[in-house]
Symmetry: C2
Subunit: 134 residues, 2 copies
DNA sequence: ATTTGACTTAAAGTGGGCTTTAAGGCTTAC
DNA sequence: GTAAGCCTTAAAGCCCACTTTAAGTCAAAT
């Protein structure tokens, strides 16, 4: 399949697929007349990448997860991948917990701001400075 | 006060304060020999901006909140500001709720991924595609 | 023969929120 | 008079995950 067909099947843009290849996220396919030719296995690759992205992993982290396997044959043997997934997944869950905590603080702060009764910006700023000192 | 003194008092870098001025977030101060000279009121401005940032507002949104008031005198009368704060705060709370929901989905997905028992990448990809169809 | 459509590349652009750089000016202390 | 230490500007750089652009190649259809 050409890159355009892979793009349509995967829902990604061809430019994104080329970018993933350039940055070592997916293997370099064979070529016919200079054009990339793929088989179905790269679609599995792309599905796993999208899945990892939807979990909040960056492309750098995804390279750590799967990227050692630019050879698709090795990539398909998931045993060594599984260990890294567990480690990074656990770390990412903690990161997401921390993120949620920060967002909860923002929400609480906003809820207080909605009830703000300061008469001017100076009073408002003074109260905010007071909070920071707590 | 010079921009350096404001920077030390506010904890911001001078470059950030210049950037805020350039982008219409804070008023243009008077000058002596081409150098900016501030009075204390800009510190209130900066405190409110940092506060809004800590609530998750972008600089664009902060301009909507306070930015009409490049004249500090007007800015200090918070009455017209309050209405905009309530509207934007409510909207932002909903945005943050949506964000938390997305993060919770990520966490649940990661928890499932940690228990993954697929024998190869193809099986994994097939299961993930199945999820998308749910 | 030429048009259409899909592909190729390297390089530059996007957005957000700044920071850094390069080149210079002005004041104060020695 | 010269060095230190503050300030000035416009423009470029940074991070991330791509997209867009410009200029070109190639095969099939008309």
């Amino acid at each position: 399949m050409t890159i355009g067909q892979i793009a349509r099947k995967s829902g990604l843009r061809a430019s994104a697929i080329r970018f993933y290849e350039r940055t070592g996220l997916i293997p370099k396919p064979s070529r016919v007349n200079g054009q990339r030719r793929y088989d179905d296995r790269v679609l599995d690759c792309l599905v796993l990448i999208e899945f990892a992205k939807s979990c909040g992993f960056t492309l750098d982290e995804i390279r750590q997860l799967f990227g050692g396997f630019t050879d698709l044959g090795e990539f398909r043997n998931r045993t060594p991948v599984l260990g890294r997934v567990r480690g990074l997944a656990e770390r990412k869950i903690h990161e997401l917990d921390a993120l949620i905590s920060r967002i909860e603080v923002m929400k609480a702060t906003l809820a207080r701001a909605e009830r703000c009764r300061c008469v001017d910006a100076e009073e408002c700023a003074r109260r905010i400075r007071g909070l920071a000192e707590c």
